[in-house]
Assembly symmetry: C2
């Protein structure tokens, strides 16, 4: 598929309700389970998506659209959510993520981006030159990455309970060395 | 986590709304994209989950609970949905999945399963001896497997559009030899 703004927004607007449907109201052992030390629980995943709304995708798009001489992005802190959300509940994080995403998509739509804007350059702190089109495509894929991660982390909590079914359920053995 | 019936039902009842939130109303290129020949599109994934409701998990649980001399499961056809759903829409499949799952969970709850029932044996056609507890745990993990798969298959449609972001988005390179 080639990048398409409307098709991208279709996915971006579905992620908060999808995360809410999968994770909202789940009991504690599901919400806080991880794949191992220093990996994300479903609670961490939602916190990380909130960090993305506040500090990653749209702030970087604004840097590109400002058309400055040095459109270099701020580095992104993958663990900002850990301290930020110590006293939060999954329910409140899901609501906050939905609100932030909705506001960001309202702003994104208001820009009425065309091919000229989508081709504008930015500079990623470690990946180097990128375009606005690539940034927005990466936002979509990043959402789906973390939907898949939340499902995988939940699945792994029952890794031994399925007994002999393990070879039929590859989600249990994906990412044998998990990353956050 | 140890198997718990109520915690299992928490996940099982969330899968239809999660799939609906992620996939309902998406445009065609998202719905029909795959990871390659003979792999599932998101449309196929929902069809496969419907097959599971009709022919896999609950029929096998009933075989176990019948306590017959030979509690052997019928083999499961992973591609039943292909012919079955030729003329269907994603919207109608999502509604059918939700209805079948709801009916199955009503029946599951009505059994009021305790440790004695959960330990009853069945015989998987290729995996051999299993228990009802393992069957139900595998049902939960199978749901999450396919939520993760649907998200991964969507993500891969933008595999080249993200440009240099590929190494930061491992969902794009998971399952390099994909299975259905």
């Amino acid at each position: 598929m080639n990048f398409d703004l409307d098709l991208s927004i279709q996915v971006l607007e579905r992620t908060p309700p999808a995360m809410h449907a999968m994770l909202g109201g789940l009991s504690e052992p599901w919400v806080s389970g991880t794949e191992g030390p220093d990996t994300f629980s479903p609670f961490d995943v939602v916190g990380h998506l909130i960090d993305g709304e506040e500090t990653d995708w749209m702030p970087r798009a604004r840097i590109i659209l400002a058309r400055g001489a040095d459109p270099r992005f701020e580095p992104y802190d993958r663990f900002r959510h850990r301290a930020r959300n110590v006293d939060r509940t999954m329910s409140s994080l899901l609501a906050e993520f939905a609100r932030l995403r909705s506001d960001n998509l309202t702003e994104l739509r208001s820009w009425r981006l065309g091919p000229a804007e989508l081709g504008l350059p930015g500079t990623h702190p470690s990946l180097g030159p990128v375009t606005l089109r690539q940034l927005l495509a990466a936002w979509v894929v990043h959402d789906l990455e973390h939907v898949a991660q939340a499902a995988r982390v939940l699945a792994k909590q029952y890794g031994t309970e399925v007994g002999p079914w393990v070879p039929f359920l590859p989600v249990l053995t994906d990412h044998p060395v998990p990353r956050s």
